[in-house]
Every structure is written in C-alpha cells, then in structure tokens.
Amino acid sequence: MISLKNAGFSYGSRAILKDVDQELAAGSFHFLTGPSGAGKTTLLKMCYLSLMPDSGTLEVLGQDVTKLSREQITQMRRRIGVVHQDCQFLNHLTIRQNIALPLLVAGKNIEDNMDNLEDLLSWVDMAHRADAYPEEISGGERQRLALARAVIMDPDMIVADEPTGNVDWEMGQRLLTLLVELNKMGKTILLATHDLNLIRSIKGRVPASVLRLKAGQLSLAGAQL
C-alpha cells in the first residue's frame, strides 16, 4: 500500500525525514507517533501526496508518486481519505454539502449517492446536524464530519493527522471505533497521534503497529498491539 525506500525530505537546509524505509501493507492499521516537530505531519503529507520526497522513493497504492502527472496525482488523492486536526471545511456549505464535497469535485451525481450520504451521516451520528454549518458544531462533531467526508469516495486508505487532538477521551474513543470499523472493512489506516492511551486502547480490537518517528528516522516501536 505504502512503500518508503531511503525517502528523505527537507525544509530548506533542515532535514525533516532521513532515509526512511518502511512498508505498510494493504488493510493494516498503523499509529504514527513521535515528539512534536519530529515530522509526523510531513510524513503524512507525503502519504497523501501533498508533498513529494526530496530523495529516495515513495510508492503509494502501487505507484511511484514522484513519476505521477498532476492529473494522476488528482486521481490518486481520490483514493486516499484524509482527516486533519483542523478539519478544513468550507464554512459556507452545510455539513451534508461538506461530506458530499469529494463527490462534487469528482463530478459525481450527488443524487445518485444520496443513500450513501445519509448512511454516512448516521454512521458518524451526525444525521440530526446535517443542515448545520461547520461553525455551529463542536470539535468532536467536526472530527466525525471530517471522517465521513474522508470515506465517502470509498478510499483504499485513511490518513488521519491527530484527529483526537482537540476532543475529549470519550469522543476520541468514538473516533477510534469508527476507524477500527473502517479497518475491518479492509481500509488501510495511518493515524498520527501522541496520545499513548489512545494507542493502548486499541489492543484486542484490531491488529495494529506503532511507528515511531524520531530525529527524522522511522522505526517500529515495540510489539504488535
């Protein structure tokens, strides 16, 4: 699903990632952890094709991303669901319209996908807020909305950057449960977090591994959860 070989990335002269080697299999669940500023977000951005490695190779969904055209990158992004900590919604659109946005930009008929849309709203327990605007909902609801938007295109992989960073423990668990359900449906999950309690709480629910990023190096931390 994702293959990094000697991949590196620098912001100017500051090396963020150095010779990263890692394989993430399809359908696997990974936590990405590490201290603040270690490069977790940079690595995630590379995985959802927002950044390209400076050196080495990165394959996502079987494609060497450095050789993709702009159009191919656009097509690939539709196969990757992204959940940000700050969510990034279009505040002038309702929650239902925000969830449908990936369908809209892909030129799909929203009416044809209305059942799927309503199912997703129910799945993230947001059906009763479907006509509200993003600024009218809580942080936890925003994260669930972001997750619903990330999966509406039925992606192969979900990349989540600190989705539980701004929510309480209970809401964090609800989000993790949703991600576990997606993983059981065969989606590859890559979840960046610094919350060790969240990582521990997955034990026994799905097989997951913890990747630790430190000083630009990525390593498998501890045993499989």
Partner: protein, 298 residues
C-alpha cells in the same frame, strides 16, 4: 455524451458552490464593472453623437452655401434679384432662396433678444443655397456673381467647416481611446479581483485539492463566479447609463453636439454589446489569472 458549450467554458455548473458567496472581491468586481459599463455606454453615446455631427458637417453642410449682399436700398433689391438669377441658372445649384426678414430675426433672436429693431440695423441680404451632390464650379460662379451683383460674396462654409471637421474627427478618436481604456481598466480590475479572490481562499483551494479536485475545476468555479459578477454588474451599469441617456434633456437641432446626445434606431443595440464584451473580457482575464495563480501555488 452531449456537448455542452457552457460546461466547456466554465466547467461543472455545480462547482459554483465551492466559492464563498461573499468576499472582498465580490462587491468590487460588480461595482467596478457597473461603473465601467456606465462610462462605456456614455462614451459610446458620445461617440455616436460626434459621428453624426461629423457626418452632418462633412456631408450635409458641404452641400450648403450662403450668398451675402451688403448694399442698401434699390441697389440691394436689384443685386439680390440678379444674384438669385445667376444662382438658379448655375449647373449644380439645386435651390437658392432669399432668407426673408422674419427668418433673419429668428436667427438673430438667440443672440440679440426679442423686439429686434431689424429695420434700423445694417443687416446684409442673405441667400440660402442648396448644392447638388456633384457640387458647383465655385470659381466661375464667383466670377458671374461679381459681374451681376458686385456687392455679393459667396461662402461655401469651407473655411470654418474644415477645422471643425478635423476637431470632430479628433474627438471621435479620443472617445474611441476612452472606450479602449475603459476596456483595459475593466480587464485589470477583473484580474486583480480574481487574484484577490484566489488569494483570500487559499484554504478552500488547498482543501479542494486534497479532496481530489482538478485545478481546472477550481479555476472554473472561480471564473464562473467572477464572470457572472462582472457581467451582472455591467448589465446594471448599462441599464443605468441608458436611463441617463434617455432622460437627457431634448435639445434643438441647432445645438450641434448636445442635440446628438441620444440613441435612435439601431443605436440602441450597441450598448447591449458592452456587458457582452465585459463578460467575455472577465471570462478570459479571470481564467488566465486563475490558471496562473493555481499553477504558481503548489
């Protein structure tokens, strides 16, 4: 699959939703387009008026002439009749008529007021001459007049008509330049507002790209919105300008340029092209700006 020219030009019609309906650029584009269209329609009306005036001076006035006889008493009467005889027998003269006293008073009234003691003023006898389309041999006509009516002088208006005609042509060029500048300013405003709209919506653009939107889709959304705002603004500006032109006080024919400040017949169609041209310009300018902007932002 059917070909939809609007989709070809603007992309997906639903893409409009992704652009926030409000923003700094929203009123700026509409207002600037309305103002530019108003100025353009006014300049167009002025251009048409100048054109009509130039045509009048170059065509209609070119076929008129005046004979003036400065004499008194019986001599004036005799020379007037002689001059009329000469004129009416000259090939190329369609018509020659004495301007009678009442017509002369009417001509002088705007300058000297009512109750004009015309009999006490040394006013020359005037003969209004209408020439045929091929004109006359002016030199031989002058020689014949000199022989028959020595105090008569022939004036074909060419001495004052030529500089006025040149000035009207220059005015026409200046109005055309004003129209061109109005168009250029409109394009610049649209380009700036497109950049402004794109720059102030960076987060939306970033989000749309992450969701798999093509740059052409994003550009189409902004181009559609900016083009609609500019066109609607221009339609409003055109309508206001046309109301202003219609309500322009009617002027007598003698008032020259002012009397031509109106639209008639096919002239009414010309202002319609203003919002169409603004729309086309806004589409091309915003499309170029959006593509450039999106290409420069990774």
């Amino acid at each position: 699959m059917s070909f939809n020219p609007l989709s070809f030009l603007f992309g997906d019609a639903n893409s409009d939703q992704v652009v926030p309906p409000k923003g700094n650029a929203a009123w700026l584009t509409g207002f600037a387009s309305a103002a530019m269209a108003f100025i353009a329609v006014f300049a167009l009306t002025l251009s048409l008026a100048v054109g009509r005036l130039a045509d009048y001076w170059s065509l209609d006035l070119a076929r008129t002439a005046t004979v003036q006889i400065v004499a008194e008493g019986e001599s004036l009467q005799a020379q007037s009749e002689a001059a009329l005889r000469v004129l009416r027998t000259t090939p190329g003269v369609e018509r020659a008529d004495i301007i009678d006293k009442s017509a002369q008073v009417a001509l002088l009234e705007p300058w000297l007021g009512r109750n004009l003691p015309i009999d006490s003023l040394p006013i020359p006898q005037m003969i209004d001459v209408r020439l045929g389309p091929d004109g006359v041999d002016v030199e031989s006509l002058k020689l014949r007049l000199q022989a028959e009516a020595p105090d008569a002088s022939f004036d074909d208006h060419s001495t004052w008509r030529a500089p006025v005609l040149a000035a009207s042509q220059r005015l026409r060029i200046m109005v055309a330049l004003s129209l061109m500048l109005t168009g250029i300013i409109t394009v610049i405003i649209v380009v700036l507002s497109a950049h402004n709209a794109l720059a102030s919506n960076q987060n939306i653009i970033r989000t749309l790209r992450l969701l798999g939107a093509r740059d052409s889709y994003i550009a189409g959304a902004f181009v559609r919105r900016i083009t609609m705002r500019a066109t609607l603004g221009a339609v409003l500006g055109m309508a206001l300008a046309m109301v202003a032109v219609v309500s322009f006080p009617a002027q007598p024919e003698a008032n020259g340029l002012l009397s031509g400040m109106s639209l008639s017949g096919i002239d009414w169609l010309y202002p319609i092209f203003v919002p169409i041209l603004v729309g086309i310009s806004a589409f091309a300018a915003s499309r170029l700006a959006a593509r450039y902007h999106l290409h420069s932002v990774t």
